[in-house]
Symmetry: C5
Amino acid sequence: MRIGRVIGTIVATRKDEKLVGSKLMVTQPLNIDLMPKGDPIIAVDTVGAGIGELVAYTTGTASRIGARKMDAPIDAAIVGIIDEIDINKALLDKS
Amino acid sequence: MRIGRVIGTIVATRKDEKLVGSKLMVTQPLNIDLMPKGDPIIAVDTVGAGIGELVAYTTGTASRIGARKMDAPIDAAIVGIIDEIDINKALLDKS
Amino acid sequence: MRIGRVIGTIVATRKDEKLVGSKLMVTQPLNIDLMPKGDPIIAVDTVGAGIGELVAYTTGTASRIGARKMDAPIDAAIVGIIDEIDINKALLDKS
Amino acid sequence: MRIGRVIGTIVATRKDEKLVGSKLMVTQPLNIDLMPKGDPIIAVDTVGAGIGELVAYTTGTASRIGARKMDAPIDAAIVGIIDEIDINKALLDKS
Amino acid sequence: MRIGRVIGTIVATRKDEKLVGSKLMVTQPLNIDLMPKGDPIIAVDTVGAGIGELVAYTTGTASRIGARKMDAPIDAAIVGIIDEIDINKALLDKS
């Protein structure tokens, strides 16, 4: 999984019928300082994530597993809401 | 899914026979400001996307699912036409 | 699929036996201006692509599907020869 | 696999139920000098890796195989603890 | 496949038991000039590649196919030893 923040939603009237009923959230990947890095993805929400929340999201087949929709064209899904991240940055200094 | 814009088409007379009948659209990935970022991909259209439209596209196995062609060499597909994106960029400032 | 140009071949005497008989082409990914971008890949040719030709290639499982060799260690395949690309670059300017 | 260092943990109360019981470790990808490169991922620990340890981690389907949880939304897993890396950098100079 | 050079080995006493018996080689991705580019990966050797050799390696499911170990957490494998690369760089200049 990657760390991301939910920053918005999209509306798509014409879409694959297997996506109907899935909440499509614009999710921004974050770096180790929880700052934006890279381009936003559209992930299916599977855990009731709200706008602004810090989340863990998957890509690929894991996303269809998370969404319980193996027959839907889903390649990214939010599978956890992060309450707390405990990182020891000092560990990055040792080679 | 990623956000992209359909910017063109390709013609390929000699191609895998399983691709015959699929509309191959040149699709430009976009960043959070909906500006071009990265290199274009060739995605199979599954929702009737037109040139210039803002779309959501998948990569990998999800694309064959979207195209309903599990036996075709497809690794990218347009699965939704985006009517509206609602992003709160202020959320990107909180670490 | 991605857009690439076939720029060479490799010879590998010792290789996975399932690759025997497959033509391994060095393929350079191209950007929107059809100029080199990123590092070359080795793709299995499935459509009779010649050196110098502009091609569409897949990555991942789609490549084994294209090669009709699901049991071979193939992760990239040329699945179409591009006769013509029609791109409207002006579309990239609208945000 | 890629080389990484375990630098932390996350707490996620609301998450996919298939992730319950999996240890989610924040893992930093490393470059050839074992220095941080790229953004951290959240990997499921399958080998008892501790904070600060140098590890080998997989991405994609290999991760669900490593975790022995094919039905869980897992796309990254720690599958080995690296005791020793023996690299001959002089080899990088020959073209 | 990508082009790489085998530059070392790793020792991992604690690892997924399905990896026991697999030779884990540190492999450096190379660019078109066969110079290092990007970060090293750990690939399972399936063809008897030695330190310093130029190789073709796969990523993803193709790697488990190459290793003949579909139930092992493998996401990269060396599947060929490159004897010769024949590239026509002049082809890169035509747009």
